[in-house]
């Protein structure tokens, strides 16, 4: 299958992952316990877009708001939409990254790296520049490895026997969020 067909056919996988990640982060107040690694913080911020359907029936909403709000997004979940992109921050090892992740393509957009001494130097000294490049690549790879670990955790649950129970919890979470929006 070529890439274009694969993206279209498996678009749901990344969207389910991002939506599950939001549920998982909400479930423990902004932290996720990664197998073999422990807790990391994963906080959904300000901006997200949700989608449902495909082709001509594709519907998309874009929402911004404060961390715990995002009411329209929560309403969108209750209408059967899933996350297509979200601005989120990851915190681990005293680092904090902000990134806009896209679900269907797994693009990393507008990544703000943690500020370290080595990430911003002027270009006059070749050794300093090489050190800075290595530092920045190291941080970017730390982020992608962390996202992949979250994705791996999702896949293990999604493809395992636990998924049935996880899906019930996700549906309860979606329903509860819809009630909060209605009665607020």
């Amino acid at each position: 299958m070529d890439l274009v067909d694969l993206i279209a056919e498996k678009r749901w996988l990344g969207q389910e992952f991002l939506t599950w990640l939001w549920f998982k982060s909400d479930e423990r107040g902004g932290s996720i316990a990664l197998p073999d690694r422990g807790d990391i913080s994963v906080v959904f911020e300000k901006h997200m877009s949700l989608e449902s359907g495909e082709g001509e029936s594709l519907e998309r909403i874009t929402c911004s708001g404060q961390q715990s709000e995002l009411r329209e997004a929560r309403t969108g979940l209750a209408m059967g939409k899933k996350l297509e992109s979200a601005r989120l921050s990851f915190g681990f090892n005293d680092y904090e990254f902000s990134v806009t992740l896209s679900g269907s393509l797994m693009e990393y957009r507008s990544v703000a790296l943690p500020r370290t001494e080595g990430t911003e130097v002027d270009g006059s000294n070749p050794e300093e520049v090489e050190g800075m490049v290595l530092e920045r690549i190291f941080l970017l790879e730390e982020l992608t490895k962390t996202v992949n670990q979250c994705f791996r955790m999702f896949l293990d649950i999604r493809l395992g026997d636990e998924w049935r129970d996880e899906l019930i919890k996700i549906r309860e979470w979606v329903e509860k969020n819809a009630e909060v929006v209605t009665f607020d």
């Binding site: 992952f17 290595l134 970017l140 791996r152 493809l159 979606v174």
Partner: protein
Amino acid sequence: MGLLKGSASFVRFSVEGELPDSSLEYLLDRIITYSFEDIDDNYEEYSLGWVSVQNMFDSQFKNSSWVAGDYITLSLRMDERKVSAAILKKCIIKEEERVRLEKQLPKLSRSTRVEIKERVRSELVRKAIPIPAVYELAWNLTEGVVLFFSTNKKAQALLEDHFRETFGLLVKQQIPYSTAEALLDEAQIIKLENASPDLFV
């Protein structure tokens, strides 16, 4: 942008296949062979090739590094002479009218109009200043992964073609499904192939 400073937007590509020679000399030779050639002083419409991540005018890598640890760091530069559709349309109509009056014809033939269109386009393209676009990448040689600092689909297609021409290797964009294939064991991959989306409501 994003490899050297500021916020970064990127996608991951896996590198498929083996290099015939993994020495740095071989890699540099391939990079120089497919490096960027300036078109400011000629009339070429388009040029694509590798330049230094630190200096878009350094395509011979004499003064800048292209290796950092286990990583190859390069920029893919594309210069293109472009003419806006509105300018092209205006100039074609103007020239058609000039030729029609000169030849005292009520109407130009189709072949004359095609000739005018091609000639005007060619003249305008030659006058246009090439517009540069630069996309950085970091290639992790150990893990066979490229971080490409653009989410633009056209730029990604250019990378795929130019990387294959330069190194004889395919790069494959890591969308969620292909990332999953790299993370899972065989039994899980079969389950994933057969999985379908679930409703969350």
